[in-house]
C-alpha cells in the first residue's frame, strides 16, 4: 500500500484512483514529506503549496474544482453555450 495516497484519500474524500489520475502523486509526495494534514488538503484541493503553485498542472487538477464539477478557469473549456444549462449534480 502507498501510505501517502491512502492518507491523502482519507483527508480529501477522493479515492486513490481519482488522486492517481491527476498525475500529481509523485510531485506531491515529495513536497509533503513533513506537511500537516491541513497543508496536504490545501495542496490537493487548491494546488497551492506554502503560498506557491508548484506547477500549472497542480492548478488544473485542483480537487476543489472537481468537487464542484467544473474546470478551473482557463484550463478546459466546457464549450459554446454550455453555461446555459442547469448544472449537473455533483457525484456525491
Amino acid at each position: 500500500m502507498d501510505a501517502f495516497v491512502e492518507l491523502s484519500a482519507e483527508l480529501t474524500g477522493f479515492s486513490a484512483e481519482e488522486l492517481r489520475s491527476t498525475g500529481l502523486v509523485e510531485q506531491y509526495r515529495a513536497l509533503a514529506q513533513d506537511a500537516s494534514h491541513a497543508e496536504i488538503i490545501e495542496l490537493w484541493y487548491t494546488g497551492v503549496w506554502r503560498g506557491v503553485i508548484p506547477s500549472s498542472r497542480a492548478y488544473a487538477e485542483g480537487l476543489a474544482w472537481k468537487a464542484v464539477g467544473v474546470a478551473p478557469p482557463g484550463t478546459r473549456a466546457p464549450g459554446f453555450g454550455s453555461w446555459e444549462h442547469r448544472p449537473r449534480r455533483s457525484s456525491l
Binding site: 482519507e10 483527508l11 480529501t12 474524500g13 477522493f14 494534514h37 491541513a38 488538503i41 490545501e42 484541493y45 487548491t46 497551492v48 503560498g51 506557491v52 503553485i53 506547477s55 500549472s56 492548478y59 488544473a60 485542483g62 480537487l63 476543489a64 474544482w65 468537487a67 464542484v68 464539477g69 467544473v70 474546470a71 478551473p72 478557469p73 482557463g74 484550463t75 478546459r76 473549456a77 466546457p78 464549450g79 459554446f80 453555450g81 454550455s82 453555461w83 446555459e84 444549462h85 442547469r86 448544472p87 449534480r89 455533483s90 456525491l92
Partner: protein, 559 residues
Amino acid sequence: MRAVVVGAGFAGSLIAKVLGDNGFSVLVLEAGADTDHDEAVERFRASRVKSPLRPYRTTVAAPSSDYLINTGPFDYASPYLRMNGGTGAAWTGITPRMHPDDFRTADIGRGRNWPISYDDLEPYYRAAEWEIGIAADADEQRQHLPVAEGYRYPMHALPRTYLDRVVASVVDGASIDGHELLVVGTPQARNGKPVDGYRPDGNLCAGYASCVPICPEQAKYTPHRTQKRWSGTVELRTRCVVNRVHADEFGRVTKVSYQRYEDDTTGRHTRHEEEADVVILAAHAIENAKLLLMSGLANSSDQVGRNLMDHPALLTWALMPQPVGPFRGPGSTTGIEAFRGGPERGRRAPFRIEIGNWGWGWSAGSPDSDTAEFVAAGLRGTALRRAVAERVSRQFALQVEVEQEADPANRVTLAAERDALGNPRPSLHYGLSDYVKDGLLAAKRVCDQLFEMLKAEDYTSYKPDEERYFEHNGEPLRYWGAGHGGGTHVMGSSRRDSVVDQWQRCWDHPNLYAVGCGSMPSLGTSNPSITMAALALRTADHLVSSRVEGVLGKMSKAP
C-alpha cells in the same frame, strides 16, 4: 502626413488603423513589450493570485499601474497594463453603450456635461461594434437604449447563463423603489454566432471562464486583432517610452522624444526623437496626463491630470437555494439596467448591476477560501468534499458599477520619486464624494432586496481590516476598482475649463490629440471601452477629413 501614436492599446490601435487605411504614414510607439499568448496562459495558470496584470510580461523600464503612488484619502484601486495591446489585453470584454443622459451629467446629476450628445456618437458606436465584433441583440438593447432602426450587431447575443435565467425568473417585472426590474443581456466583445455578412475573427467563445485576464481561446477581442488589420504604412515599435512631446513657439507640436530599452530587468536605454505632423497620445488616462505634465503642454486650463474618475465597484455575494453552475462561461452575460437613471440621480450616484457568474471568485477568493474555511472548521474527507461542492455550486455575486462624477480634486500629478528610466512616477490624489458614497450605499440596499427576492443567503461582509473599507452613515462599505480610469484630459466646449475639444484635440495645440477614457467628462455607468472606441473612430474620421487644410493650414494661421 506623418502621425505618431503613443500607445498600442485600444484607442491607439484603432486610430492607427484608420489613418493607415487612409494613406497616413503612422508610427506607433508602445512603452511595453510583447507578451506571447501561450506563455501568458501558462503564467496565468501557475499564478497564485490571478490578478489582471499577472499573465503579462512586465519590464522594469515601463512599469504598469503598480508604480502609482497614492496620496489621497482613498486608494485608486484600478490596474492598467503597459504592454502591446495595453489593458485591452486583460479587459473583461463587456461593452454596454453609455445612456443618452450620461452625456448631460451636470444637468441631471453631478459632474460635467459632454460637448457632444449620444446622437453625435451613435454612428461611431455602430462602427466600433463592427470593428471590434460585438455580440448583442439590438431589440433587447432597445429596451433601455436608443439603438438605430434596422441596426444589427455583427453577432447574435451570447446565450445567457443558467444563473441569469434563475435570476430573471424571479425579478423580471418586480420593482424596487419604483424601478421596474428587468434582466437585460449585456453586449459582449467575444465571439458568438455571426449575422449574415460578418466573419468573426478568431474562435467561438468556448467558456473558459477566465476572460479577465486572458482568454485561452482568443475569442475575446483584444487590440492585437486590429493590429493584424493595419495597412503596411503603420509601423509598431515596442519598448519605446515617450517621455516628452515638443511644441514650437506657436504651440504646434513638432516631435516626440523617447527612450528605447532592450532588456526587461534594468532601466538601461537609448534616447531617440521622432518628428511628426500630428501626435496622438493614446497611452491610458493616467499615462497621457503624466506625459502632458512632463512636457508642460496642453494645460492652460489647469485641468490636465484632474477629474480622475473610475467606477468604484460594490461587490455583494450570496448563495442561491439551488446549484446554479458558476465558473462556466463569461463572467457576466446580463445586468439590471433600471438604476442607471431616474430622479435619484440628482441626489446620489446612479449604478449598473452586473449579474456575476464566477461565484465568489472576485469578491472572496473562492473556492480556495471556502476550502480553507472548512478545513479550519475540522472537515475532512467526504464531509469536506460535500461541503465545498454544496457551497461553491450555489455561489453568485452582484457587481455594481457606481458612477463617479468629475471632481477636479481627484488628480494625477508628478511624484518626486522616479522610475527606472528617470521619469517621474504618477502620484494620485483620489477620494470618493458623498454623492458616490450615497450611490454605493443605495446599491448595497438594492442588492439586499434582490437577495431577499431570490431567497438567497447573503454572505456579503466588509471588515475594517480589509483594503478599501470605509463606513458611511454608520454602514460598513467597501469598493473595488473596475479598471475604468478616465477624465484626466477632460473634453469640453471651452478652452478655459477643458483640455481637449470634441475631437479630442488639445485646445492649446492644433496638431496634438489626447484620446481614450481620459477625454471623458463623465463615465456614466457603462464599462467605458466601447465608448472609448467610438470616440477614437470619430477622432480618426476627423483627422482624415481635415488633413488637407488641417495641420498645414493651421500653421499658416498661427499667431
